[in-house]
Symmetry: C2
């Protein structure tokens, strides 16, 4: 007993999605059998033309809707603050918050020499280039709090040390709405050492 060839091809293609294993891919594929032809065509078309339809800003690496990057060109953004993120999606997460008015720089990943992700692979060179043309006052490092995120943050801090720029990193601490019972010791230690005075 095995699936028809075309189903196997579809299942294998779906398995490339993040967090999708054999079971989920099978579920998706069998569900698709029941889709309207139009819906299948729309998905096929949007997937197939994804690369040609998406454009990235050559300066900051963000997704562009038109020919211009809405962050780099807008006169409402403060170009003296650069927020460094690892991937494009994080730009949208930060924008959704609505509190940040600076510009971005997408690294395109986190340092992980074991996986071949060295500083040369990341957009570090183009970050340093930005200091040539613009007066940058602050670089906000908004990277994951993981081994790779920490390594990348330390590396960037070292690279930027020579430049007259303030380098900051997002605060560590207890996530909003969470119970202390579920917080690991490392986070708790950070939260304690970074405790703030409460207003009277």
């Amino acid at each position: 007993m095995k699936y028809p060839e075309h189903m196997i091809a579809l299942i294998n293609a779906l398995r490339c999605l993040p967090g999708v294993g054999n079971k989920t891919a099978e579920r998706y594929a069998f569900q698709m059998l029941e889709w309207e032809p139009h819906d299948l065509a729309v998905l096929a078309q949007t997937v197939g033309t994804l690369h040609e339809k998406t454009k990235f800003c050559s300066e900051c690496g963000c997704l562009m809707d038109d020919e211009e990057c809405e962050y780099c060109v807008s006169d409402k953004r403060d170009r003296s603050t650069i927020c460094v993120v690892s991937n494009i999606r994080e730009v949208f997460a930060i924008e959704q918050m609505g509190e940040y008015r600076g510009v971005y720089h997408v690294l395109g990943g986190l340092l992980s020499p074991m996986d071949g992700i060295t500083p040369e692979v990341l957009r570090v060179e183009s970050l340093l280039d930005r200091f040539q043309n613009t007066q940058v006052k602050e670089v906000v490092i908004a990277l994951d709090s993981t081994l790779e995120g920490d390594a990348t943050a330390l590396y960037l801090n070292k690279e930027l040390a020579e430049l007259p720029v303030k380098v900051t990193r997002l605060a560590f601490g207890i996530p909003m709405g969470s119970s202390l019972d579920y917080i690991d010791g490392g986070t708790l230690a950070y939260a304690l050492s970074g405790r703030t005075t409460m207003g009277g």
Copy 2:
């Protein structure tokens, strides 16, 4: 702040997948941005040609790899036993088990008048037609143990009552490897009333 148009189109298309909401669709879409063009092309092509490349057996409704249904045509299958399932995927689940040697009949859903799924929509007529040509001894109803599954099973039992055929349904009881603590009362009651004598 919003995603470029093409990303929105892709995210909306991905949201049609079962169990995929906005967040997951976004995750898939952004991951796809990093895929190789070849992988995107393969997914687009397999999705786009899904309907034309998949063929269903006109008799049992199963997926066919070639021009013939491997179940209906094979002389290793017992055509006097028909297992009724709601969708194609369940055929593969039962085949994987490797214990069933009869043939199948895919209903294409479960009765749910509220959603417009009436007996006419399901492949009930074609199930009854099969009794014309073949000597069917047993119909094994392998449907979900849900409200819709029970309704469909009762309906089929009623439809088949006039025919000289044994109608059976999969046994209810405690799933293998599960703890009694987590079993609901209904299942437990079924398991008790259906208890079997242990061999000495």
